[in-house]
């Protein structure tokens, strides 16, 4: 073993341990597994009540989709010229949310950011659920989702006799999103296997032994297992990194390859990716703050974790703000009257309220995070995490609706307002997302037990004999 370098005690305030409360390995197993192993009546009643509320919103989603399929997509407010409206807004919104999960699990892993270990599992789960919600919109906007598989995927078929047009960015999108979902699922499951083995070894219930026994694939933590596992984890992280950047780039191609003013710009891929990470981190923040509070995870999800996430929110929020400025500059500099009009119309036209909500929530409010006090205040970060997601939803709406309602010819100008079905379907997907997340938090280990143990066992030496000065950070 190479000698472990102890950290200077004076650095405790700026770099406190990631696992606090000097827990030994068994305590960590106990703390994280106890949530999963609790009996039905041991889980707080507020959990089951919340689950019932979100579950009924899922029923609303089911009702809306049934109504849509049985009646036709005319029940949505899409019209001419706004052929893409809430459905694609919601699609891009949900896909964007997912990006933070992959960023935390893959990119931060490659950068050896150890603070990711407490939050990566739940962020990855969030990715999966967000992509599921996103998938609903393109699938159902076809009107006949059971036939959509032939339209979307290159499946040989004899009744339709069609193939996809690979020159269209829409088919690229199908490939990007379905690959993204599959890879995220495999990555997430790979990370879960050692923890499922832990649960299998702990449980005394026959049913759980069988279920976890099968799911954990017979994992026994052998040195040979770990060697393959670590290599595989590195590869999955390595390919997920360009993948996550490609997914939102491809989503932005849907717009950027068209000739609509306001869409036809080369800035879209990086601008969309930054926005996606921005909104995704905000969503992770919302969920983690709730989980941290309800499940008492303060020693694992520390203020340092939250502070780091807020820094990323500040950076990506500023990148998004910079992209907004660039768009305005290029609209002026291009000399194209249509571009100029589009951007003036965006800020001062019929959707001015949406545009200014977006500027306020995405650019101005996150600037509070320049102050350490703000980055470490739980209430501030909770509120900002919500406003960020409102702002990012508006960003997609503004890009899509303002560009389509006012294109080249004034004779083809229009306006879009959502119908009640639009609104209820979107609320329904929020319900689905929360329901899936609640089920995950209760029935699977929400924190990667084996990874946290690795960090804790290392920190034991780094912080050996030092008092926990982190109390100054609350």
């Amino acid at each position: 073993m190479s000698a472990v370098v102890q950290q200077d005690p004076q650095l405790m305030v700026v770099n406190p341990p990631l696992v606090q409360g000097s827990k030994d390995l068994h305590d960590l197993t106990e703390q994280i597994s106890s949530v999963v192993e609790a009996k039905v009546y041991e889980t707080p009643l507020k959990y089951w009540i919340t689950l019932m509320c979100t579950g009924s919103v899922v029923l609303l989603l089911g009702a809306m989709l049934t109504y849509l399929v049985s009646t036709g997509i005319g029940v949505w407010g899409n019209n001419r010229p706004v052929g893409w409206a809430w459905d694609i807004t919601n699609f891009v919104f949900w896909i964007g949310i997912g990006h933070a999960g992959t960023l935390i699990s893959a990119i931060l892993f490659l950068f050896r950011q150890k603070w990711r270990t407490s939050i990566n599992r739940s962020a990855e789960a969030m990715t999966l659920f967000a992509v599921m919600c996103a998938g609903i919109f393109p699938l159902f906007h076809t009107g006949r989702p059971w036939r959509a598989f032939y339209w979307l995927f290159p499946i040989p078929n004899t009744d339709l006799n069609i193939w996809q047009n690979f020159r269209s960015p829409l088919i690229w999108d199908v490939f990007a999103v379905s690959t993204y979902f599959t890879v995220s699922l495999l990555f997430w499951f790979t990370g879960l296997v050692p923890d499922l083995a832990t649960l299998r070894d702990r449980t005394t219930s026959k049913v759980r032994q069988v279920v976890f026994g099968i799911l954990s694939l017979g994992w026994r933590g052998s040195a040979r297992h770990w060697r393959h596992y670590e290599q595989a984890y590195l590869i999955l992280a390595g390919i997920s990194t360009p993948l996550v950047l490609s997914v939102h780039s491809v989503v932005s191609f849907d717009f950027a390859t068209s000739v609509i003013p306001g869409w036809h710009t080369t800035i879209f891929p990086p601008y969309f990716v930054a926005g996606a990470i921005f909104s995704g981190f905000a969503c992770v923040m919302t969920l983690l703050l709730i989980a941290r509070w309800t499940l008492n995870l303060q020693n694992l999800i520390t203020i340092k974790h939250l502070d780091n996430m807020n820094k990323i929110i500040l950076v990506t929020g500023s990148v998004v703000g910079y992209a907004y400025c660039t768009e305005f500059f290029i609209a002026w500099y291009s000399g194209s009257i249509y571009e100029r009009f589009t951007f003036l119309n965006r800020a001062f036209g019929p959707y001015w309220w949406a545009a200014w909500s977006m500027y306020t929530c995405n650019v101005f409010i996150p600037q509070l995070y320049w102050f350490r006090k703000m980055r470490t205040n739980l209430w501030v970060m909770f509120v900002i995490s919500i406003t960020t997601n409102i702002g990012m939803w508006f960003e997609r709406f503004v890009i899509i609706a303002t560009s389509l309602t006012r294109d080249f010819l004034p004779s083809s100008w229009g306006y879009f307002s959502p119908t009640w079905v639009d609104i209820c379907t979107f609320i329904g997907t929020i319900g689905l997302f929360l329901t899936l997340f609640l089920l995950f938090a209760r029935f699977l280990p929400m924190i990667a037990i084996s990874e946290v143990k690795g960090v804790a066992s290392q920190e034991k030496h780094v912080f050996a004999g030092q008092e926990e000065g982190s109390a100054t950070l609350r």
Binding site: M1, T179, T182, P194, G218, A223, H225
Partner: protein
């Protein structure tokens, strides 16, 4: 009657092949409370001339691979093959669909061109790499399996909790139940046990 005995023989053969059964010895196992002790003990056991050594731990212990001689994982190379398979599949698919089976002129664009095939090709390369890596992780580890003789060790269940186990397998040429158990104790292992298959 003959069927039962047939299946009994078959089971015996399978067990023999897997090296399990009450009459078989799987290994000598011992446990440690700290990962550093495991690595140190592993190094010393290996220095004694044992070759079939394994370890079990709740998280990857750094240095254990070198200490007990775990070969380097070949997953990386297999993953590269997966990526190449993905690229080939995508290119063939897009060429076949666009140029051969369903040629449609849309917007005057060519029926096949490398540039517009890049995004789906990239995605399929990633997808195939991920699936290959995923399957190989378990396949190369000999998983999934429902039974493993190491489960018979008294504190095997703690290897996924807070204990670090060292194993010298019975098919090691230098293995001798009594002697090996003694060696294990001499490097500091607790609860040393001869584990049956």
């Amino acid at each position: 009657m003959s069927e039962t005995s047939d299946s009994a023989i078959l089971i015996a053969q399978i067990k023999d092949k897997l090296g399990i059964g009450d009459d078989k010895v799987y290994a000598v196992m011992g446990e440690f409370a700290e990962p550093e002790d495991l690595v140190e003990a592993g190094r010393r056991i290996r220095a004694m001339g044992y070759t079939k050594i394994d370890a079990m731990s709740p998280f990857p212990v750094h240095g254990i691979d070198e200490a007990i001689g775990v070969p380097y994982s070949k997953i990386g190379w297999i993953a590269v093959c997966g990526a190449l398979a993905g690229i080939t599949t995508a290119q063939v698919l897009i060429y076949y669909v666009g140029k051969i089976d369903y040629p449609l002129i849309i917007g005057g664009k060519p029926l096949f061109d490398f540039t517009y095939s890049i995004p789906p090709t990239f995605e399929l390369a990633v997808l195939f790499t991920a699936i290959t890596t995923f399957l190989c992780t378990w396949g190369l580890s000999g998983l999934p399996r429902l039974y493993h003789p190491s489960m018979n060790y008294r504190s095997a269940h703690r290897a996924s909790d807070d204990r670090f186990l060292l194993i010298v397998e019975a098919d090691d040429p230098k293995f001798d139940a009594q002697k090996t158990a003694q060696d294990m104790r001499s490097v500091g292992a607790n609860d040393v046990e001869v584990v049956e298959g």
